[in-house]
């Protein structure tokens, strides 16, 4: 097998194949990035809105709770299909990549909302009381007092979710999005050794998730330093 890999490698890493793999890598990268960044931003907004006591936002809160509870329970593949058929039913002509992008953001938002909510809840009630008694508003309390203390609880599950999530973007191949896993299949079908194609795909996934995990640890040190007495 090793001999076969060595023989095929020059052809495998030919110009068009590399270009193809890079395009697929870019698709996976974009799906992951959109999921992580938009998912985090939207998840944060949702969690913060869900926590408000304002009665005028009550209907919105119900929608949010249904959204997070539902999308955390539906398999990613089912979400993809749902979004795909929803776009079709609405007669919106969008690319498969856009469908995947939208699905990825939905899922990430639902999960991150829960992670942020748990983080905010982990900060003791008395911190809110002290802030309220000193006339801090809701957003000021979050910004200066609660969120800085919640990072410690939010970051580890958020980044472990991101790392899992990068791998889940592979499911986008099921609706025909050319991302890494899809590219691996195409190249294997062309007759390249499976060990070579999927080995390359593996390395590329690693290239994506390793820096992300490192970044998560760096954020942890930066935002939630542990102090020694």
């Amino acid at each position: 097998m090793l001999q076969q890999i060595i023989d095929q490698a020059p052809k495998f890493f030919g110009y068009y194949n590399v270009l193809f793999l890079l395009q697929a890598f870019a698709a996976t990268f974009l799906l992951s990035l959109a999921g992580c960044v938009l998912g985090f931003a939207l998840g944060f907004v949702l969690a913060v809105t869900r926590r408000t006591a304002d009665w005028r936002l009550a209907p919105l809160r119900v929608v949010m709770i249904v959204f997070t509870e539902a999308f955390r329970r539906i398999p990613f593949l089912v979400t993809l299909m749902l979004v795909f058929f929803a776009f079709q039913a609405l007669k919106l002509d969008v690319s498969m990549f856009a469908v995947a992008l939208f699905s990825v953001c939905l899922i990430a938002t639902a999960f991150i909302t829960e992670i942020v909510r748990a983080g905010l809840d982990s900060v003791h009630r008395n911190q809110w009381d002290a802030a309220a008694a000193m006339n801090f508003g809701y957003l000021e309390t979050l910004r200066y007092i609660v969120v800085p203390q919640a990072w410690k609880v939010m970051l580890p599950p958020a980044f472990s979710f991101f790392v899992l999530f990068i791998k889940d973007t592979a499911l986008a191949s099921q609706i025909g999005v050319v991302e890494l896993t899809f590219a691996g299949k195409v190249l294997a079908n062309k007759g390249f050794p499976a060990a070579l194609t999927f080995g390359t795909v593996l390395v590329l996934y690693f290239v994506l998730s390793w820096p992300l995990a490192r970044f998560g640890r760096w954020m942890g040190v930066k935002l939630a330093p542990t102090r020694t007495r």
């Binding site: 008395n126 911190q127 002290a130 008694a133 000193m134 006339n135 801090f136 000021e140 007092i145 800085p148």
Partner: protein, 245 residues
């Protein structure tokens, strides 16, 4: 005109009535001690005053003006004049001592940072913690944290300070360092509400003592009246129990 006046104040936690028909008035500079068994409503009364638990009925008047606890603006105004110090200190864990004391003056009141910092240093010096400016709350003892909490409350230049069992979470040795700080405040002529089980101290500093039980103010009077000649049987029972040892 009394500085603070409460008329028929009631408050509930859900269905549970925790304050019932509380009525009294307080003059500027008075030191009011609230004593009574646990669950009698002492801490709740302070939470009501500062708007953390809006009263279910009754009127609070501050300098003759009725406070509408359901109006955000009115509550803001009340909180700009009253500061509360909690039993568990409630210092912001993510900030140094100095930041804890300066954050509200700078972010809420919009004071220039340098000015707020200078005043914070002065207050922290006064409570004996001028050397701990850069420490974090979890690096301090309970007594030190409580003194920071008092400095933090004073940084907002309140007219009335509410002290909610500020010594109950402390080791006996640390109680005195906090009580010394409160003596300083008392000498400054600030109006103070003091919820406490430190009876000797209550007797020493209070201008008035309110004995509370089951959400009612059962009896009020000078420390001598309450401790030496209580009129109500319930007060007599409580005082005889706590002064026995």
């Amino acid at each position: 005109m009394p500085q603070l006046e409460l008329v028929d104040i009631r408050a509930n936690y859900g269905d549970l009535a925790v304050l019932e028909r509380v009525t009294f008035s307080v003059e500027k500079g008075e030191i009011i001690s609230l004593i009574g068994p646990s669950g009698s409503g002492k801490s709740t009364l302070l939470r009501v005053l500062v708007g953390l638990l809006p009263p279910a009925a009754g009127t609070v008047r501050l300098d003759g003006q009725a406070v509408d606890y359901h109006s955000k603006a009115a509550v803001r105004l009340v909180r700009s004049r009253m500061a509360i110090v909690f039993q568990q200190y409630n210092l912001f864990q993510n900030m140094s001592v100095l930041a804890n004391v300066t954050i509200a003056p700078v972010r809420v009141k919009g004071q220039p940072a340098a000015e707020a910092e200078a005043y914070a240093r002065k207050l922290l010096d006064r409570v004996g913690l001028g050397h701990k400016l850069d420490a974090y709350p979890d690096q301090l003892s309970g007594g030190q944290q409580q003194r920071v909490a008092i400095a933090r409350a004073l940084a907002l230049r309140p007219e009335i300070v509410l002290l909610d069992e500020v010594t109950s979470a402390l080791d006996p040795e640390l109680v005195n360092e906090v009580l010394d700080v409160i003596r300083l405040l008392a000498a400054d002529g600030m109006t103070i509400f003091f919820v406490s089980h430190e009876m000797a101290f209550v007797r020493e500093v209070s201008s008035k003592v309110f004995f509370m039980d089951k959400g009612h103010v059962v009896e009020s009077g000078t420390p001598a009246q309450i401790f030496d000649a209580p009129r109500q049987p319930r007060t007599r029972e409580f005082v005889s129990k706590i002064l026995r040892h």
